[in-house]
């Protein structure tokens, strides 16, 4: 195939790009472009990708190990929790550290001050433990296949340049890794050059609240230089706490998302978007939500387990005897960017995953039921707990 030939021809220039990110698979910076900060070619087909700020989410994206530029992801969440918000914060923080231009739609500015900080170099020493844990997971679930293993090798590679480059300034483009690890208990120190815009919705009830947003995005995209990546973050779209009542009119919301799609199509190598949607208010069984999903390249659904808050302590010292944290919810993959549309990527055999949000990271694992011996015990425990709980309540 013709694109394979191109890969071979350009591998040499990939090594010279100075970002010290050279996964073993052949890669192609398309054409002879200068490497953009935080962008690397997909190991599968060479299209430029960037990190979502969450390692396990990157690994989920059909083997591209990053979000392909020019695509958007919709994260739906049911219930009152804000796991999607954590993913969006990681996404924003990653963008700021990479020097991307970050646009946040509809939120007040203090959101920017609450972004998680990156884990410093000295604290990276904990890393090896995580690696062994991941290795075990990869061994246990062979179906994880290529990308599980791929993440491991790549992460290990990353730590090397990080550790050798300890003395250099973290802001310098040379030493910036593809992906950072964030700590939710820390606050992000914004780099001096960071560009973070908060775009407010129009509140005029007679017209679309999204007009100012699209105008802002369009002008800032046309005015910016070609080496600026724009990250669009739209938290809790349509949530009545942030959005005026008319915003859920199909003619407004669908046109807005179509507009975002147009921008992504017009600037396919400079823009990515992430959107979260509260499902409790807008169920997936409604036609409007289905259109919202169809207008995004990737669709993930988070369904937190209702008992996860009090189940934590029980299961962690439970039968498995591992240090794995119990899953906090179910993550379902409904559509993946690039893979479903264009067929390029590693197909996944399952759509059901679990997620765990800890202080450090958002982990996505295959959804497996625990072994039976342990299960009875855990079930008893949780049944006891439920019994106690109901006793107390009634």
């Amino acid at each position: 195939m013709s694109f394979r030939k191109r890969n071979v021809g350009l591998t040499g220039s990939a090594g010279a790009d100075g970002t010290a990110q050279t996964p073993p698979a052949p890669q192609t910076p398309p054409k002879e472009r200068v490497p953009l900060p935080g962008v690397r070619p997909s190991p599968l087909d060479g299209r430029p990708t960037t990190s979502t700020g969450t390692a396990s989410l990157d690994a989920l994206l059909a083997g591209h190990s990053g979000l392909a530029l020019g695509s958007s992801i919709l994260i739906e969440e049911s219930g009152t929790t804000d796991y999607a918000g954590a993913l969006l914060r990681f996404f924003a923080a990653e963008g700021l550290l990479q020097g991307h231009h970050v646009h946040v739609v509809g939120l007040p500015e203090h959101w920017g001050r609450e972004l998680p900080g990156a884990v410093g170099e000295s604290e990276q020493k904990e890393k090896p433990a995580e690696h062994t844990e991941k290795m075990k997971i990869a061994w246990r679930y062979e179906s994880l296949g290529q990308f599980g293993a791929g993440t491991n090798t790549r992460e290990r590679q990353q730590t090397i340049p990080k550790q050798t480059a300890q003395n250099t300034e973290p802001g310098q483009a040379i030493s910036v890794p593809f992906r950072h690890t964030f700590d939710l208990t820390k606050r992000l120190v914004h780099p001096a050059s960071s560009k973070l815009d908060f775009v407010q919705l129009g509140m005029n009830p007679s017209q679309s609240p999204y007009i100012p947003v699209l105008e802002h995005l369009q002008t800032s995209l046309t005015r910016s230089t070609t080496d600026t990546i724009h990250r669009i973050i739209i938290p809790s779209i349509l949530s009545p706490a942030l959005y005026p009542p008319q915003s859920s009119q199909p003619q407004y919301i669908l046109h807005f998302l179509h507009g975002i799609r147009s921008l992504l199509a017009a600037y396919p190598d400079r823009m990515i978007a992430i959107i979260s949607l509260p499902l409790s208010l807008y169920p997936r069984s409604s036609g409007l939500v289905r259109w919202v999903e169809l207008l995004n390249d990737g669709v993930l659904e988070l369904s937190p387990f209702p008992h996860s808050a009090d189940g934590d302590t029980q299961v962690s010292r439970g039968p498995a005897g591992t240090t794995e944290e119990p899953p906090q919810g179910l993550l379902q993959v409904h559509r993946l960017p690039i893979l479903h549309d264009r067929g390029s990527g590693t197909g996944i055999s399952e759509t059901d995953w679990t997620f765990t949000l800890s202080r450090r990271k958002f982990t996505i694992r295959p959804f497996n039921l625990p072994p039976i011996e342990g299960d009875t015990e855990a079930q008893q425990a949780s049944a006891d707990l439920k019994g106690k709980k109901s006793d107390m309540e009634f």
């Binding site: 472009r33 799609r261 199509a265 396919p268 036609g287 939500v289 067929g343 390029s344 197909g347 399952e350």
Partner: protein, 336 residues
């Protein structure tokens, strides 16, 4: 290189190329339809048989309206299956109406590097994605001199070459020598509209009837009409989930529109996910079934009798398909 058109589907796709045919492709969230649209496009341009490609010009010109997907996607996927969008657009074999980047000023084209090649191609951009503007853009395209809008009946000589599989209606002219006849003056283009239902969803002021009458008008001006729509269950089965009376106008209109389209289509290609979950080596299920447009040829004329007998030979069918990384598609029956 294997044939671009999957073998099980070839006969159906060939039948969709008959004059005055409407074809409907429906898809759901997990099984988007671009690969099938491109194969229909390929068949229209080059015929179903994977014969000598240099004898091109056997097929029709295509007006391709894409409302939801960027040209870069079509070009990327087309390239892998032998459709060179750049040259097809320059030769005016395809006229591309870009409903996605309609509102974006074209100065953006200079800014980016990666897709620069697809940017400079001649495409038509409607002013906005409203029914009126799309209508205007299409009228404009159809009026252009390279594509004749003559209402004369289409001479069918060029068409026959694409159906050599048919014994009854075998081509008198082999494809290679058919080329001089292909670009006859009276030839009408085929129109392929991707995501026509978005017009309905995004504009509550447009009624399904209005959109249907637009399509009916369009159908008189073109050789054939191919449409892709979404058939996700929330958009269709509103009555079963939330009970009657709870559906929104969006869902009601979509269901009415899609049902109407299926009734006026000759063939309906349905793409959906596996009912039993997901698998690594199966992208989805394709079902080809007859639309409501079979009575149209009854008792029309002698010319159509081969069509009818041929159509009756084709039974509805269901296959599994897998979209592979190099844009090849494997289609096979269950158990094969």
């Amino acid at each position: 290189m294997p044939s671009s058109i999957p073998v099980p589907l070839a006969a159906y796709i060939a039948d969709c190329l008959a004059p005055d045919t409407q074809t409907l492709v429906t898809s759901v969230l997990t099984t988007p339809s671009p690969w099938l649209s491109l194969r229909l496009l390929y068949a229209t341009l080059y015929g179903v048989d994977d014969g000598p490609r240099h004898a091109q010009q056997t097929g029709h010109e295509v007006v391709f309206v894409s409302l939801l997907r960027p040209l870069s996607l079509w070009a990327e996927m087309g390239k892998k299956m032998g459709l060179d969008f750049a040259s097809l657009l320059r030769n005016r074999r395809i006229t591309y109406v870009d409903g996605l980047t309609g509102g974006i000023p074209s100065t953006a084209a200079t800014a980016s590097t990666i897709e620069a090649d697809t940017r400079q191609l001649p495409t038509t951009r409607p002013r906005s994605i409203t029914l009126k503007d799309i209508k205007d853009a299409l009228d404009d395209v159809l009026r252009r001199p390279s594509i004749s809008t003559s209402t004369r009946p289409t001479p069918s000589g060029h068409l026959s070459s694409s159906r050599s599989a048919d014994g009854v209606f075998s081509p008198r002219i082999p494809p290679a020598t058919a080329s001089p006849f292909a670009r006859s003056v009276g030839e009408k283009p085929l129109i392929l509209i991707d995501g026509i239902d978005f017009l309905l969803a995004s504009q509550p002021s447009v009624s399904p009837v209005e959109l249907q009458s637009f399509l009916a008008t369009l159908r008189t001006k073109c050789h054939g009409l191919m449409l892709t729509c979404q058939a996700d269950s929330p958009l269709l089965h509103w009555s079963s989930t939330s009970g009657p009376g709870h559906e929104t106008p969006l869902e009601r209109n979509h269901a009415h529109f899609l049902t109407g389209l299926a009734h006026s289509a000759r063939w309906v290609f349905q793409l959906r996910g596996l009912d039993t979950g997901s698998a690594k080596d199966v992208s989805g299920v394709i079902r080809v079934s007859r639309g409501g447009d079979r009575g149209m040829y009854d008792g029309v004329g002698v010319d159509d009798s081969p069509d009818r007998s041929r159509e009756q030979d084709l039974a509805d069918g269901e296959w599994l398909y897998q979209l592979q990384g190099d844009s090849a598609v494997r289609v096979w029956a269950r158990g094969e």
